[in-house]
């Protein structure tokens, strides 16, 4: 029974949602200039028998290939076993730069249940983050082999969800270990150190690993002060190694030094659910003030800003049409003016061209 962990998840999640509902009405920057943009029709061509579910993550590699990690649904709990075991529910797809379907990666993987993000590192390795198996999986650039695993999937699940206890209750500091609770994102600094946003469950922290996957440290706990979080939805690292954390529940981006020393907060972008930082020295930060899944009449815009907090402009709004967004969970910004945006609510990925 080693590795069984209570998952006291539903209550914190609801609390986080309520916080979102309560505070996100007074979103900042309503006066930010509108950026003209278009949505490329039908950017990713799926085979006839494959459908996107909730698009947890989307990312490109250096060749422009596109990876989508999506919650296709129908996760299964088996019966007639000693304990309830769960599997399935998410799939990872690869497309070429023209949108043609290339392959499925990690089909029926043990670690794929609740897609929360996919990212591609500087050497084109593919990293999938799963908020149900609580794993971060590093695939080689071809998607054929696992190069590294962080975290471990619980052996079995609680049915119904929830239960008493669970890891990291109380302060939300998380266990000071290399295990996650609903991790949401992964990023790297120039030295290859790994930063995991952890997460959307009981943990409220950023966990740092070295390039070999050795756990170094973590920082953060639940709260509203500097260095405290309410729903860690994303992470990005700039060329200097500063760590940008999407602190959605507190409606801010917090910026830390490479070892977690707090530097500043950006509070003018609503509730950031997805972040992306372009490469290079004049980096641009994209932040999605995503609408809640159950409401398309508010929020939904994406901000383009400088890392110092200066807003360049914004585009989009919540909705179901092209050029509207349904709870954006992922942004890829390898090209500063050609973004891939993954949506939870609309079960799709849009390719956005900024003018």
């Amino acid at each position: 029974m080693s590795g069984i962990r209570g998952k006291h998840k539903s209550c914190p999640m609801r609390a986080a949602l309520m916080i979102l509902v309560a505070v996100s009405a007074a979103v900042a920057q309503s006066g930010a200039p509108e950026i003209k943009f278009d949505s490329v029709p039908n950017p990713l061509k799926l085979p006839a028998n494959i459908y996107f579910g909730e698009a947890g993550g989307v990312a490109t590699n250096s060749h422009g290939d596109v990876f989508v990690y999506t919650r296709t649904g129908h996760a299964t709990v088996t019966i007639g076993t000693s304990r309830p075991f769960a599997h399935g529910g998410s799939r990872l797809f690869e497309f070429d730069r023209t949108g043609k379907f290339v392959r499925e990666i990690g089909k029926d993987s043990y670690g794929f249940m609740g897609a929360s993000q996919v990212r591609v590192d500087p050497t084109d390795n593919i990293w999938a983050v799963d908020e149900m198996t609580n794993m971060v999986m590093k695939f080689d650039p071809q998607g054929q082999r696992i190069l590294m695993l962080l975290g471990r999937k619980a052996e079995n699940v609680n049915v119904p969800a929830g239960g008493r206890g669970g890891r990291g209750g109380g302060t939300g500091a998380g266990q000071p270990t290399d295990l996650f609770d609903r991790p949401s994102d992964v990023a790297w600094d120039a030295a290859g150190n790994i930063f995991v946003a952890d997460g959307m469950g009981n943990n409220a922290r950023v966990a740092k690993f070295d390039k070999d996957g050795k756990f170094v440290k973590s920082w953060g706990r639940k709260g509203t002060g500097d260095g405290e979080f309410a729903g860690v939805h994303g992470v990005a690292v700039d060329a200097q190694g500063n760590v940008y954390v999407a602190d959605a529940g507190n409606k801010r981006i917090q910026i830390f030094g490479n070892d977690g020393n707090f530097k500043k907060s950006l509070t003018n972008v609503g509730s950031p659910q997805a972040v992306c930082l372009t490469k290079g020295t004049n980096a641009v930060l994209y932040v999605s003030n995503s609408n809640p899944v159950d409401d398309i009449d508010r929020d939904g815009e994406i901000y383009k800003m400088h890392p110092d907090g200066t807003v360049v402009g914004k585009f989009g709004r919540a909705g179901k049409l092209p050029k509207e967004f349904g709870t954006v969970n992922a942004i890829d910004c390898r090209d500063e003016n050609t973004l891939y945006v993954g949506e939870i609510g609309n079960l799709r990925v849009q390719k956005i061209v900024l003018h």
């Binding site: 539903s10 799926l46 459908y51 959307m200 409401d295």
Partner: protein, 516 residues
């Protein structure tokens, strides 16, 4: 009584807290078989009359029972045992009962149970007392002589040692799930009262649809055609699936294989541009597929999977939200493309969205009601060329016509229970109403229900056709009709896993009775 099968509620289960639930116990007869049944009972905590015949005589009805005992209404998950001889009629002995009330266990499971009677009964909008005595008794379902509880404590051999809170928490959800699958309902199906409706003769096309080799349709709850005559069947096989057939019934392709929004089908409709809309009451999602089968828009959303298994909902419905559907049942459009949704098994409302999926209005709410503009299980809807919305208000045993802003115009109560409706295309529209025979047919049901009515939009009923039957052309729970061509009706049936194409024969004008 509403139950949780594909088309019926089970909300009533929540009314009695666990500690107030009673259970019924009889030893299991040798050779019996059992099925899980969720049923609501009148429970008489006092010892029953000495002569069981006093309350079992067929000509004594619930009115008398209500007046002679301090009964409670309780909801039980029970196993109904069917003896080797088949389903027996009413038992001849009082049923042993034991119960737990607010003050805790009255009896330990082992020291014998208190006496009492638990009787199934009909739950109608008019209430029990309004039911004619004979009719009530006639429609009572058969009760097996031998009962035992399904997971409830204290009454069966399993339960003896299992009256423990942790176990109860665990099994209640499972038993609900089992009951959901196997429940045999006790439904207040209403016989139509409209007089003088002529029969429309028809034939059924033999072996109409040909699924792929080695595959069969599941519960064929939803069927629709597009402008080219292709037939879409959204059915419940091991997974919910959407099949496309050509006009001759040959299989063309599957759409949405493994799709996120498919969990438990309820309706499929095709709009004027041949987009295919699926209504899924398990995923709480409505999906618009483009004519080539790609997802174009979704309404509603699933609970996030990471939150885990969702327990069967109990208690009052939470307030209805603009963009959250709760077991939606059907979809329709007006000529402007506004979207209308009947929602559903837990909400009791009709919602209007604009063509882009933005909320505009709703009629009804999360609460069931029987007034005009209120609903109790809105089970289907269609929109006519005037933009009026026709709602099958099933548990109210009626249809309602709403205007385009969802203001109620009228109700129709003489066509039986409003299961589903359909409005034909073209400038002269006809509307079809199905008084479908219910799931879990009771003795006598086939005599009372199962027919489909054809009417003008002004309510003039032109004729009726069809009757229950396991074999075609009989209907075994018509769940949905396609009537693009008003002389070729395609019906999907729940309990026969079948889609029939019916060719109506011309009939001389007659009848003229009004639907009202």
């Amino acid at each position: 009584m509403r139950n949780s099968n594909c088309c019926q509620h089970v909300r009533s289960r929540a009314r009695i807290p666990v500690q107030q639930q009673f259970c019924i116990s009889r030893s299991l007869a040798a050779g019996g078989q059992c099925a899980a049944v969720a049923r609501k009972f009148l429970f008489f905590p006092q010892p029953p009359p000495n002569d069981p015949d006093q309350w079992l005589k067929p000509n004594r009805g619930a009115r008398d029972l209500r007046q002679t005992a301090k009964q409670k209404i309780v909801t039980l998950n029970v196993r109904q045992f069917v003896t080797k001889d088949g389903i027996p009629a009413f038992g001849r002995q009082s049923l042993e009962t034991c119960g737990y009330q607010d003050d805790g266990p009255r009896h330990s499971p082992r020291d014998g149970c208190g006496n009492g009677i638990a009787l199934p009964y009909l739950d109608t909008p008019q209430g029990l007392a309004a039911q004619p005595d004979d009719r009530l008794v006639d429609q009572l379902p058969p009760i097996a002589e031998n009962w035992t509880t399904d997971y409830l404590p204290g009454c069966n051999r399993i339960g003896d040692r299992m009256w423990q809170e942790t176990f109860m928490k665990r099994v209640l959800m499972l038993s609900a799930a089992v009951a959901t699958i196997l429940a045999g309902p006790l439904l207040a199906q209403q016989k139509a009262t409209i007089p003088g409706v002529p029969e429309i003769p028809f034939t059924t096309v033999p072996n109409f649809l040909k699924p792929p080799p080695g595959e069969i349709l599941g519960e064929s709850v939803a069927v629709a055609t597009n402008s080219k005559g292709h037939i879409f069947v959204f059915h419940r096989s091991a997974n919910t699936r959407l099949f496309e057939f050509d006009p001759a019934g040959n299989f063309v392709k599957e759409i949405g294989s493994g799709y996120y929004g498919f969990e438990f089908s309820h309706s499929v409709r095709v709009d004027k541009d041949d987009n295919i809309w699926t209504v899924d009451e398990g995923a709480n999602m409505i999906t618009k597929f483009s004519p080539d089968g790609r997802v174009a828009m979704v309404l509603g959303s699933k609970p996030l999977a990471v939150l885990g298994a969702v327990a069967y909902p109990v208690g009052p419905n939470p307030p209805a939200q603009k963009y959250v559907l709760c077991r939606p049942t059907d979809v329709g459009w007006d000529t402007q493309g506004n979207i209308f949704v009947s929602d559903g098994y837990c909400n009791n409302r009709v919602v209007k969205y604009d063509r882009n999926g933005r909320f505009l209005a709703q009629a009804g709410s999360e609460k069931a009601g029987s007034g005009l503009g209120e609903f109790n299980l809105p089970h289907a809807l269609q929109v006519d060329g005037n933009g009026h919305v026709w709602v099958a208000d099933r548990s109210n045993n009626r249809y309602q016509e709403l205007d385009n802003d969802l203001k109620p115009l009228k109700e129709i109560k003489n066509l039986g229970t409003g299961w589903t409706d359909c409005i034909s295309s073209g400038p002269h529209q006809y509307i079809f109403f199905s008084n479908s025979n219910p799931n879990g047919n009771m003795p006598g049901t086939w005599d009372n229900t199962g027919e489909i009515y054809k009417a003008e939009l002004d309510g003039t009923v032109l004729g009726k056709f069809g009757r229950p039957g396991k074999a075609a052309p009989g209907f075994q729970v018509v769940h949905m009709m396609d009537c693009r061509n008003p002389n070729e009706i395609i019906v999907g049936e729940i309990e026969s896993w079948r889609v029939q194409k019916l060719l109506l024969k011309p009939v001389a004008a007659g009848g003229g009775s009004k639907a009202q």
